[in-house]
């Protein structure tokens, strides 16, 4: 197991390092110098120079890169030029909100997938099957910004029963019932495409499992079909659903930016949007690297979890 993890680690690290160089380098290419923006158009050359040396902009680029990388590890990310406050505080605050939203969305997606997927396989009805396929296509085909606007239109404008956006005013923990009201629309919006995709994977791998010889043996021994589906096929089919979920992380990260914009949810997506519109690049840099790191890490964890659940992969060796 450890050997498997060790075999996956180097390429993940290479991707991360190259991505960090790309992100740092790309944002250096942006026209306009943060010192000029900060000092205003009428600043004297001396004042400009003072700001540049305070921000470390007068040092060689590779030194700035290493300094930036080091600061990521110490957690001292510096101060935001324009949004204000320490970048670490901004990112932590946004991260908490985004994690709450993403967790709710993924939980919702997994519950939907398990209920609908197992239900479709258990009933074996053509109509249920057609319904699942249809709903899955629609869930995948509705872009997040379309389903989000529709959800607001229906549940916040036409039947005003839920807030159209924002976070619970008293925090997440104070009143769970109010938190749920604020969370339900964004979570549905973010979780729906994920649910559509992993439901399809679950149904397909359940069917593959049910065609295996061991199922026939169990049937011949008189085990009821429902027992086989729930206790034998489902555990065997879960790894591939997990992988499908891991693949969806990218779309959850990107989707969070959209969902936060629609529902004015003050998470990392909103922060990155503000950072871009105000050209606050140190904030954008950290957020971009964070999202790539999360993506790479989750892919790695998915592979490891898959290997832990399916011995064929870790024995199969290097991929």
């Amino acid at each position: 197991m450890l050997r498997y993890v060790a075999s996956r680690l180097p390429s993940a690290l290479v991707v991360l390092v190259v991505a960090s160089i790309l992100i740092f380098g790309l944002l250096r290419l942006v026209p306009g110098d943060p010192a000029t923006t900060l000092a205003g158009p009428d600043a004297s050359p001396e004042a400009l120079g003072a700001i540049r040396s305070a921000l470390g902009l007068d040092r060689p680029v590779w030194e700035q890169y290493l300094h930036w990388l080091g600061s990521l590890f110490t957690g001292d990310l510096g101060r935001s030029y324009l949004i204000g406050g320490s970048i670490a505080d901004l990112v932590l605050g946004g991260l908490l909100n985004t994690v709450v939203l993403a967790t709710a969305a993924v939980l919702l997606a997994v519950v939907i997938a398990l209920v609908v997927g197992v239900g479709a396989v258990l009933t074996r009805s053509r109509w249920v099957d057609a319904l699942v396929t249809g709903a899955n296509t629609v869930a995948l085909a509705l872009p997040t910004f379309v389903s989000g606007v529709l959800l607001v239109l229906v549940f916040a404008v036409a039947l005003p029963i839920l807030p159209s956006g924002g976070v619970p005013p008293l925090g997440f923990a104070a009143r769970p019932d109010i938190t749920a009201q604020y969370l339900v629309l964004p979570a549905i919006c973010l979780g729906l495409p994920v649910a559509g995709s992993i439901t399809r994977f679950l149904v397909e791998s359940l069917r593959t499992e049910l065609a295996q010889p061991y199922v026939l043996t169990a049937r011949a021994l008189g085990v009821p079909r429902r027992r086989i589906v729930l206790f034998q096929a489902l555990p065997a089919a879960l790894p591939s659903m997990l992988t499908a979920l891991g693949i969806q992380v990218g779309s959850v990260l990107g989707g969070a930016v959209l969902v936060e914009a629609i529902f004015t949810w003050p998470g990392l997506g909103s922060l990155v949007e503000q950072g871009i519109s105000r050209r606050d690049y140190p904030v954008v840099q950290v957020l971009l690297l964070l999202s790539v790191a999360v993506f790479v890490l989750v892919q790695l964890l998915t592979d490891v979890a898959h290997a832990a659940l399916d011995p064929r992969i870790r024995i199969g060796g290097s991929v």
């Binding site: 390429s11 290479v14 991707v15 991360l16 190259v18 991505a19 790309l22 992100i23 790309l26 944002l27 290419l29 942006v30 053509r126 109509w127 057609a130 319904l131 396929t133 249809g134 709903a135 296509t137 629609v138 995948l140 085909a141 509705l142 872009p143 997040t144 910004f145 379309v146 606007v149 529709l150 607001v152 239109l153 404008v157 036409a158 159209s164 992380v249 990218g250 779309s251 990260l253 990107g254 989707g255 930016v257 959209l258 914009a261 629609i262 990155v272 949007e273 871009i276 519109s277 690049y281 954008v284 971009l288 999202s291 790539v292 993506f295 790479v296």
Partner: protein, 297 residues
């Protein structure tokens, strides 16, 4: 959706294909016919109507997309303005028609750009181990950026706009096609008929052209329809969060973004552009499903 699913026996009972071992695959005409029946037909009609509306926008649109009509502020849909008017008195139907054109422009430039580049890189890199390893790592790095995050990064550098949107879509497509073609090349190379061809003196180029490409045409065809759906989504998403097509120029995403700010005052405004985006994405996905199913029969 019920209308589409109506006949439960939608699986076309085509004669089983005789896949000969020469590497030519199903006759092309019959495969594309999957787009003209069942859900493929529904998808083709959805896409066809939107494409026609976009192409004919100068004829169909009652107003110019940027024209501000005096006194027509946030009007609900009626006979004069089928989709209503927006906050700055523009006719939403005209904007949607012209916005569709912008999306079509993105589709016909970005998707072929990404597909051709990615396919070429995938094919050519598979010729040697060194180039294969390099290409794979480059694809890994591109794939580590979720498409919207890539959009944010590029928009920060190059600024928002049509070119950025096209570039983001193309860049996101490159690793997908690269891996597809590489996989096809590696698989085909193991086939007995390719070994036989190599034994009688076929070169690597000849194998690529004669065996790998024809075998990859179908998966690439399916992927192109999926990419078209993704491209509509990416344009919409980027313009929606303000890093795509800039106002006042219309695009489906920017019109939806405009309508959201006026959602309380005029809820009907969002419905037109939402319907067009949904028809396009759903249409392309149905076409992709039909083509994929056509391969399996």
């Amino acid at each position: 959706m019920t209308a589409v699913q109506d006949p439960p026996v939608a699986v076309p009972v085509a004669a089983p294909d005789v896949r000969d071992d020469v590497g030519v695959g199903v006759p092309r005409g019959r495969w594309f016919a999957a787009l003209l029946r069942g859900r493929g037909l529904v998808g083709t009609v959805f896409v066809g109507v939107v494409v026609l509306a976009g192409l004919l926008a100068p004829v169909l649109a009652p107003y110019s997309p940027l024209q501000q009509i005096p006194g027509a502020n946030l009007l609900p849909p009626d006979a004069a303005h089928w989709l209503g008017t927006d906050e700055v008195n523009r006719d939403v139907l005209s904007r949607v028609l012209y916005g569709t054109r912008v999306d079509l422009l993105v589709l016909v430039t970005a998707v072929p750009l990404g597909a051709v580049t990615g396919s070429l890189v995938g094919l050519l890199s598979s010729l040697s181990t060194a180039s294969d390893v390099v290409a794979q790592r480059v694809f890994d790095i591109l794939l580590a950026f979720p498409v919207l995050i890539l959009g944010i990064a590029l928009a920060a550098v190059a600024g928002p706009g049509l070119t950025t949107v096209i570039l983001v879509i193309a860049l996101a497509e490159i690793p997908i096609y690269g891996r597809l073609l590489r996989g096809a090349a590696l698989r085909v190379r193991e086939m007995p008929y390719v070994e036989a061809a190599t034994v009688v003196g076929a070169g690597r180029w000849w194998v690529l052209r004669r065996h790998v490409l024809p075998n990859a045409i179908e998966p690439v065809g399916v992927q192109v329809t999926v990419s078209l759906a993704v491209a509509v989504f990416v344009e919409g998403a980027m313009s929606f969060i303000g890093i795509g097509i800039r106002p006042p120029d219309p695009s489906l995403g920017s019109i939806i973004a405009d309508s959201v700010t006026a959602l309380d005052a005029n809820p009907g405004l969002a419905l037109g552009p939402l319907a067009v985006v949904t028809a396009l994405v759903l249409g392309f996905l149905l076409m992709a499903q039909a083509l994929a199913a056509g391969r399996r029969t």
